[in-house]
Symmetry: C2
């Protein structure tokens, strides 16, 4: 391994000078800097990350910790965040929490807070206090922070407004017997859930129902333990088998929607003829399915710009001890075949 001493020797300067020169400190004479840079290139030198990070506390790395990388939405979000981070000249590393608390702690404690200049974290089962302790004061931006008293900057998806838009759209195309897949109404009973993704989306649904003066009850809202396609596919089977009637469905994520659509097809119920369908997230797969999926699409570029932007601000101004900020990512309704009649 070639170290800075090697470079300094090659350029016939001191280690200190070499260090300054390579980082472009203006106090170093241009001619000296050129010598050093040339020597570094000749030796194919790269600064040792551990050493630099140990001494300066900076690594140039931003961590992204996300629940499950094999699901379309988180993977597309991570990819977008990663590119945005690169655009700032930083390296992005992505870690999968698998929604396991042990994993979350391990990631925050052993990697993120140690190595990363900042973290973008999609919290699962870990509390604000634990995060405080584990991040050791390093900047962190949360994605969809459900806590009642935010302790960190965060970027939210437009859960309530988006869900409201989705249901309003179903109503506007003539649906009158609408069901919602993803959460049951009872979720909202517990005040601790006031800001969870489920509650926010439920709230938007209720707004739409009320504005349109459409009746609803407990059976309108169907919980999904896991927001994945197989769960939704089973729900569809049960629903049809039970003889339930509906002419429109809002699924709280696209993954649910695609699974639900498939489940309906398994029972010869077809979208959009028999029931219109709207999802949420805007994953790419929704544009390819048969029929293609109407969805409330979160603008991932905007989400990435906001979260990485906030994080970089904190990193660059660590002294500013501002209140935690909350931003919301843009969204738009993308109308496709699943709601065209």
């Amino acid at each position: 391994m070639v170290t800075m001493s090697d470079v300094a020797k090659e350029a016939r300067v001191s280690r200190a000078t070499a260090s300054y020169a390579l980082r472009g400190d203006t106090r170093i004479a241009e001619s000296t800097r050129n010598k050093v840079v040339e020597a570094a290139r000749k030796l194919n030198y790269t600064a040792n990350l551990s050493a630099r990070s140990l001494r300066s506390g900076k690594s140039g790395i931003i961590g992204v910790a996300i629940f499950e990388l094999d699901k379309p939405y988180p993977s597309q979000m991570s990819a977008t965040l990663s590119r945005k981070i690169n655009a700032y000249g930083m390296q992005a590393i992505i870690q999968q929490t698998s929604i396991s608390k042990r994993n979350e702690i391990s990631i925050l404690q052993r990697v993120t807070s140690q190595l990363c200049d900042g973290t973008i974290f999609s919290p699962g089962s870990i509390s604000n206090e634990e995060m405080r302790a584990l991040t050791d004061g390093k900047p962190m931006v949360l994605l969809d922070d459900p806590s009642l008293h935010p302790a960190f900057d965060s970027v939210m998806t437009a859960g309530t407004a988006g869900a409201r838009t989705a249901v309003m759209h179903l109503i506007s195309i003539g649906c009158r017997r609408i069901i919602v897949i993803g959460a049951s109404l009872s979720t909202m009973n517990d005040p601790a859930n006031a800001n969870t993704t489920k509650t926010l989306r439920l709230r938007g649904c209720l707004q739409a129902f009320q504005e349109a003066e459409l009746a609803f009850d407990d059976t309108t809202f169907i919980n999904a333990d896991h927001w994945d396609p197989d769960t939704a596919r089973n729900i569809a089977h049960q629903l049809i088998d039970s003889g339930r009637q509906f002419d429109g469905a809002f699924c709280m994520t696209d993954s649910l929607a695609l699974g639900f659509m498939r489940g309906l097809a398994d029972r010869q119920v077809y979208v959009p003829q028999d029931a219109a369908l709207v999802g949420f997230d805007g994953i790419k797969e929704g544009g390819l399915s048969l029929p293609s999926l109407t969805t409330v699409q979160t603008d991932l570029d905007d989400l990435a710009a906001k979260s990485v932007g906030m994080l970089m601000e904190r990193i660059n101004q660590p002294q500013a001890h501002l209140e935690p900020q909350q931003m919301t990512a843009n969204y738009k309704l993308v109308v496709r075949e699943s709601s065209r009649r």
Copy 2:
């Protein structure tokens, strides 16, 4: 930040003793170790990664560098690798190369070779020699290494055997006018391409055609510049618009297959009635599409077990200077609706 000195002081031992105790060195008396461990827990101590890594050259981190995280196959592969790495008690960090050479170099040079005890890398545009230089002798396992003279351990997907299986399956269900989407025959003309994914899969197709004594020519094989759904969708449009007849299609990836299927549907050509369809990879989305997709499924658990296993062996026995090894991941044909007649 709480350091080892703090722990040592709290436990009333020296820093060295604390270090040994925490890592379970047997020379430390049990009672002493308990004191230290207790102190560490009380202070909520975590060893500084940079310091440890700088001094010992080990970090407990394995890097995974993959081309695009927002595509189903690489994202599902990364997720599986990540879990497998965790099962070995190591931390996994995932980085996205975006198939940009600059990015690949940057990742290898600035993060992977610096920080990671080993790397699993899906090479894009970087050469063996460059990798040698950038990894600085650290263990690395390549995924689908296309080089003619492998310089690293690698795990291959069963390109030739898998593609052969796929085409044989189409033949076995009665298809006689089969087309292949993904690469053109001319790809194989350049000897430099002898081991690329495209060539391997082409080779398998040719074997199947020849064994079944089925005619084929240049027009049987249609190139896709990018292996993504939109490209395939366009190909489908062009093919149908040009009046091309076929009763079966093998797409070199599931993403191509799903796009192709959607493109056929855009032109009122339906799978499997009008043409049977087989993909390659085995992404989860293939089980949900309408119709569900027959595919040659790569066993990702097996792929992960093999690649992480090889890597861990290299890490644990750095002295053994064995020849580069090649392994191949298991696969199986998963027959679904797209080829049921």
